[in-house]
């Protein structure tokens, strides 16, 4: 364990997980907003919107995240010139957030859509009967109940997202998996302890997250 007593190495480790945390928060927020919008599109009465939502889900859910992230750098940035920040790291970070968010949004959309299916049709019919528009029905009646039904699956998606953010390392952000590679490269004599510390950190953070979502899901479930 003396690898981590060196402050320089500890810095690499901490910076790595700070990037993971930032990617998870920013990517998760983006994915949630996008995912809810996509779910709304997929249940909307407008065929174009439905088609758009379906296409998005099918394209991004079935494309490897590595490719999406890779495209964000070499497609959006290199070829199309979309520069999000002057600082190299920040630019890579935001490109990574875009990639992670559009990918995860597909899963969030499907989770929410399954939640919508748990809301009895009578609710929507009643809302329409008292004269609510589609948007009102969706945002006031359906989505709040649907969201509460899918907290546990959303938790699983968040956990997957957190681990997926390590892929942003392929475009050069020094997140935890790149940080681990660096430490292993410099300390060839301590490969297994380094690996265990990095894997352990993920487990220590994510296991309680899983339980927290389970608890929340129970508390907020709509009792029928």
């Amino acid at each position: 364990m003396d690898v981590f007593s060196d402050p320089l190495n500890r810095d690499v480790y901490i910076t790595g997980f700070l990037w993971i945390l930032k990617l998870t928060v920013a990517g998760g927020a983006g994915a949630l907003v996008l995912g809810v919008l996509l779910a709304a599109m997929r249940v909307s009465p407008v065929p174009v919107l439905r088609g758009f939502g379906t296409a998005w889900v099918n394209i991004f859910r079935n494309t490897p995240l590595t490719l999406i992230i890779f495209f964000c750098y070499f497609g959006l940035f290199s070829t199309l010139g979309l520069s999000l920040a002057d600082d190299i790291d920040l630019n890579n970070f935001w490109l990574g957030v875009i990639g992670v968010a559009v990918y995860t949004a597909a899963f969030v959309c499907e989770a929410i859509r399954s939640g919508i299916n748990t809301v009895p049709p009578g609710q929507a019919e009643a809302a329409r009967a008292i004269g609510m528009t589609f948007l009102q029905t969706l945002t006031i009646v359906i989505l709040p109940q649907a969201g509460r039904a899918v907290i546990a699956p959303l938790g699983s998606i968040l956990i997957a997202l957190c681990k997926n953010t390590t892929i942003v390392g392929t475009i050069g952000l020094m997140e935890s998996s790149s940080a681990m590679k660096q430490l292993i490269n410099e300390n060839g004599d301590n490969v297994i302890p380094i690996f265990l510390v990095f894997a352990g950190t993920f487990a220590i953070v994510l296991i309680p997250t899983g339980y927290a979502f389970g608890w929340l899901a129970n508390r907020l479930a709509v009792k029928r």
């Binding site: 392929t170 292993i184 060839g188």
Partner: protein
């Protein structure tokens, strides 16, 4: 109900055993090859050599065949140990799994741009060095960058977590470092103009500069600013094997096979073969 439960228990047990068996398998090969060292393994007529698969000129995999200077060095050593080319199994290694592969016996030798340093010497025995590389810069032909001092404010690319990347971070703080997980991405970014230079060992850069699709576009600056002696990694306790490989390298330096290995691979770009410094072959422990 009882039958279902029994079946489930049996199923779980089978899976657990299968996992355990996988683990046991690795251990088995490991202890088997370590017993007699590299010479004992060679006597069976087979060697597993770990090489890089993504470095043109050094170790490049095309389909199922490997080619490059490291590959030729591997063949020379195998021949010296009495193993024919057909008895060599090439195995792709990346920088971070070289030590574990050697320790677990997944490979017998590693010839993969493997810099000798003190941390690695604690767990691995190094024969060689068979080549002395140095960190350098690859820039577009028209670039005005003349050395690492000229990097201030420039975007320079290297592989994340590698020694060259670390050296830029600590010694040339004014440079902006872009990191990727492979040098080929760096070279793509250099071709696209997103970075101003790529940095790693000169010998690796030369290999990229000599690739057909980049011919005439890039140049290696030619001012190495570090020393990277490339060694051949093998098991820590195999001193006899290590000395034997050094003897093979010495013989290769005198009978011309070392020069031929160079001329057939990296030498194609016109760089004359380096002298193998036989006096420096003293890293065996």
């Amino acid at each position: 109900m009882r039958i279902t439960r029994l079946a489930a228990t049996l199923g779980a047990l089978t899976m657990a055993l299968a996992v355990a068996a996988c683990g046991g398998d690795d251990e088995g090969t490991g202890s088997g090859s370590s017993a007699k060292g590299i010479e004992g393994k060679a006597a069976s007529g087979k060697l597993v050599i770990g090489v890089k698969a993504d470095q043109p000129g050094l170790g490049l995999q095309t389909g199922s065949t490997y080619a490059g200077f490291d590959i030729e060095i591997g063949k020379i050593i195998a021949k010296g140990l009495g193993v024919p080319d057909s008895g060599i199994e090439w195995k792709t290694t990346v920088s971070s799994n070289r030590e574990p592969y050697i320790q677990q016996g997944q490979v017998d030798l590693v010839v993969a741009t493997y810099t000798i340093n003190d941390e690695r010497k604690k767990v691995v025995n190094f024969a060689g060095p068979y080549y002395k590389a140095g960190q350098d810069l690859l820039v577009p032909t028209a670039s005005t960058i003349t050395g690492p001092e000229a990097l201030a404010g420039k975007r320079v690319c290297s592989v994340s977590g590698s020694t060259p990347a670390k050296r830029i971070q600590t010694d040339y703080k004014d440079a902006k470092l872009q990191q990727f997980d492979s040098y080929s991405k760096c070279v793509t970014a250099l071709a696209g103009g997103q970075v101003d230079a790529v940095t790693t060992d000169d010998i690796i850069l030369a290999g990229y500069a000599a690739q057909d699709q980049y011919a005439g576009k890039f140049k290696v600056v030619g001012k190495p600013f570090s020393e990277e002696p490339y060694g051949i990694g093998l098991k820590k306790d195999d001193s006899a094997g290590c000395n034997k490989i050094n003897d093979i390298l010495k013989a290769a330096a005198t009978d011309g096979s070392y020069k031929k290995a160079w001329d057939d691979t990296l030498g194609k770009s016109g760089t004359p073969a380096p002298e193998l410094d036989t006096a420096a072959l003293s890293n065996c422990s």
